[in-house]
């Protein structure tokens, strides 16, 4: 452990704003890309399923 206490860890020896902003932006961007990819996949599948259901019910009505 390079730090003696948690407070010291947060302070980063006076470099806190730089270290935490760089790490924060990186973490935020990584999480945002994952979130975006998940949302994209869900939305696509939802759209496809809706279309399939509509097609199925149309076929059901015709019979």
């Amino acid at each position: 452990m390079a730090f003696d206490s948690f407070a010291e860890f947060l302070a980063m020896g006076g470099h806190a704003p730089y270290v935490w902003s760089a790490w924060g932006v990186t973490a935020l961007l990584l999480l945002a890309t994952v979130w975006h990819a998940r949302a994209e996949q869900r939305q696509l599948l939802k759209g496809l399923k809706r279309r399939a259901r509509r097609a199925n019910s149309a076929r059901g009505n015709a019979q």
Binding site: A2, M12, G13, Y18, V25, E40, L44, L45, R53
Partner: protein, 250 residues
Amino acid sequence: MWAFIHKLGSPKWFYGISAKLQPWFWAAAALLIVTGSLWGLAFAPADYQQGNSFRIIYVHVPAAFLAQSIFIAMAVSGLVFMVWKIKVADMAAAVMAPLGAAMTFVALFSGAVWGVPTWGTWWMWDARLTSMLILLFLYLGVIALRGAFTSRDSASRAASVLAMVGVINIPIIKYSVDWWYTLHQPASFTLTSRPAMPTEMWLPLVIMVLGFYSFFIALTLMRTRSEILRREANKRWVQDLVNGQVEEAR
């Protein structure tokens, strides 16, 4: 060999195999990035010159590596698409570009923030940062060109050509920028090039780099799957797949 390549090229086959591979890469990415972050942030010793601000290296360098690797991966995918007409390669190239641009931005931002305690200014025309800035423009060009075409096939081929032209130019740009930098600023203090980093400093860096690469692979697999669904929505196998899921839900 050829059979394998063509099998790999089939979107249906790729959709299946990527579903099996994806969880492993996500797990590896999460494990490596969490381990590397804890180690790099809390356990690695502070740098004797830069103090704790050097801990930015653990996000700056992996992002910079990935930014360059993704461009190469994109160009290789473009080449595969142009030569063998493998559509999955182009779908992968299409989803890689935004992540590459994001990684370039991360490298630029962390470099700029790192510059404040190191150089006392937000921006220095440092060789690495300058090359990164140019790389960002190259990424934006590829993304914009792909978006500018109405025909998907033209967009794919144009983006492939541009990615290949770009990848040939990247080393040339890198060397000329390095040369330009040493000419104008007699190498004072570059961010990351330092002699002999101790093991407990570079080991977490290696872990972070591996974690970022796993993240890139996992995300590309995931988004390529979405892209397959988007482009092949009218294909028989996609409709069967969706119908199966609809039946299951009942």
